[in-house]
Symmetry: C2
Subunit: 379 residues, 2 copies
């Protein structure tokens, strides 16, 4: 398996990005991803009960359609807390993209990120779409990945390539997200493209497993966005011997998991004001779910996060208090704590709780002056 630190679209995919005017700054804010041939699709979405309109729509589209050709995504407006009008706008946005691409019969998925509670300016998207569709290219991913950014300090992108027989399969992912900073923007969008020939069942299983071990294991500010979406398109252009749950599944899953975990860590590293990437490993919990609860309670503690920012040795006391507050019933005598040098950019914390075989790893960032600044100063 080979990895590339940039987005290289698999065969048959094209993309593009334009400034449609949704962002007042005039920055790129509308991205289009397109496959020349029909794709299978799989998606994972926020469990926030106030899920944004595009999330509501995508869930339905994934159920009602068998083939997909495109994703249309905007930044600058989350189309969240926008009621039935919002769902109407999301559907219109998908239809306009389908028309511009002349793919009315296939599914178009939609994603939005940005301010919550304001009507999406669909007219701007409508005007921008024909030019965006006409200008699509493999190299257009460069603009597309810019167009989904909000407060992101850097683009998040990675490509994995592996072979099945003599066929090379590509898995390419891009992401945006630097901590949820709704209502200005709303967290995490992840788009993954592969040319693998794969069954729907294998695609769904692989995405579920990969998301569970990556995006579901990170916390920047403990907030679950209204718009979190992970969308995977597979267009079968690699021509490989078909991947199903029994054949070649492991190698595909490995590639997808690596892509997801790399993107997840980039999101944490770009956490608003983050100066450190911190991994918190818990071992010896009664269950895996208990282990995750302990790691998340420590990771979400502002006291822990500020101590990490300061590289303070007093971190131990804050971990003790966090473990005790987790509700997992850990006793003082069973607790062991180890950590790598605190002044480094990446810090590993190991927590042993001596009760069983449950384990979990959570990735998080520290809490700095910059976090407060970024989140307070927008008015």
């Amino acid at each position: 398996m080979k990895f590339y630190a940039r987005a290289i679209l698999p065969r048959g995919f094209k993309a593009g990005g334009v400034a449609s005017g949704i962002k007042r700054s005039g920055k790129l804010d509308l991205a289009l991803f397109y496959s020349e041939v029909p794709c299978l699709a799989s998606g994972k979405f926020t469990t926030n009960s106030m899920a944004a309109a595009p999330v509501q729509l995508d869930k339905k589209t994934l159920q009602s359609h068998k083939v997909f050709r495109a994703i249309i995504a905007n930044s600058g407006n989350a189309n969240a807390y926008t009621g039935v009008e919002g769902v109407h706008d999301a559907r219109l946005m998908a239809q306009l993209a389908a028309r511009a691409l002349s793919i009315e019969d296939s599914g178009v998925l939609v994603a939005s990120t940005g301010i919550i509670g304001r009507r999406l300016p669909v007219e701007k998207i409508k005007k921008a779409l024909p030019g965006l569709a006409a200008g699509l290219s493999a190299g257009g991913i460069a603009k597309a990945k810019q167009a989904i950014k909000t407060t992101d300090k850097f683009t998040k992108e990675i490509t994995a390539k592996f072979t099945i027989g003599s066929d090379t399969v590509t898995v390419c992912g891009i992401a945006k997200g630097a901590g949820m900073i709704a209502p200005r923007m709303a967290t995490m969008l992840v788009f993954i493209f592969t040319d693998a020939v794969i069954t729907q069942a294998a695609l769904d299983r692989a995405l579920g497993a990969a998301v569970g071990n990556s995006f579901n294991c990170i916390t920047v500010d403990g907030c679950m966005s209204t718009n979190d979406s992970v969308i995977l398109l597979a267009n079968k252009a690699a021509g490989n011997s078909c991947i199903d749950l029994t054949r070649n599944f492991t190698v595909f899953l490995g590639a997808l998991q690596s892509v997801c975990l790399s993107l997840a860590k980039m999101i944490v590293r770009d956490g608003e004001g983050a100066t450190k990437l911190i991994s918190i490993s818990v071992k010896g919990a009664k269950t895996g779910s208990d282990a995750k609860k302990i790691a998340l309670t420590v990771a979400s503690s502002n006291l822990f996060k500020t101590a990490m920012f300061a590289s303070s040795r007093n971190i131990v006391g804050r971990i003790v208090a966090g473990v005790g507050a987790s509700g997992a019933g850990v006793k003082e005598k069973d607790l062991s704590i180890r950590y790598s040098p605190l002044k480094k950019k990446e810090v590993d914390i190991s927590i042993g709780v001596g009760k069983g075989k449950g384990k979990a790893v959570i990735y998080t960032s520290d809490l700095s002056f910059e976090y407060v600044k970024i989140n307070a100063e927008y008015n």
Copy 2:
């Protein structure tokens, strides 16, 4: 009922505070509270499974003793995460106080707040105790309330007086706590003194209800300390007609609740770096517990807290995301949000979720640069 914005010890109580040397700064760090006559006692403690040694000891003392005479409390060292040695030290501290006061047969309760994971310097306490015991007085509460402070910017104190027949009953409370900043210090200590004649059952019931509606409804940084303690002593010196669960209970409960809620709000107002006291009222939840979950999720969100610091109108989007993330299953169409002017020092937020009759109020503070500074810069 009359309230006084200062601590006025009820009849029969004395207090004092000294600098024993636990705090390197030389500030007051050891407080002693004493009743000339035997007291009933009731206590509520942290549910953190890493509860500090004094908390472990007090729970046992409250079960093994029927009468109490004193509380010995120190700041500068939490005696938490200190193993069996810590429990030994806490017991020794109580025994030394009993000996200095010549009350070996009665219960002495213990409280500590400060750095986690360091052995308590009991020798310093031993040396300071005779002088502290000899100097006790009603006015000594002034030094005692200073001696329990850690990062507190101001002392927290209040007194309520009411009459039963021709007898005046006093309920006086003091507190420390400005957000848990373990391991340097650990949160909230509350000591309440009353001269009420009251049954043990009424005392326990009243304290449980008052704590449930005050200290259990505040969150500064979402962290539950290893040392949180609320201790109530009742010495019966008022000579009133006895309060039990059926007679005069409501008036006593009212006084105790007011004292607890006032102290709880002072703790939030003094939250590390706090510039605002925010009340979050949730109405219309399925259950009271759902309402509390919603209010706590919003109150604990760093995005919400930074927006409050900035008095940002975008607060609505952050409340929406918080309500949605709470797990209470609130739908967008059922949600209503109202708020008082955001630039004031006290802000009330009302959230309606239109599902039932459950309601709750949570008090919290905003998240400022100062919070990060206070918690990061200690090394």
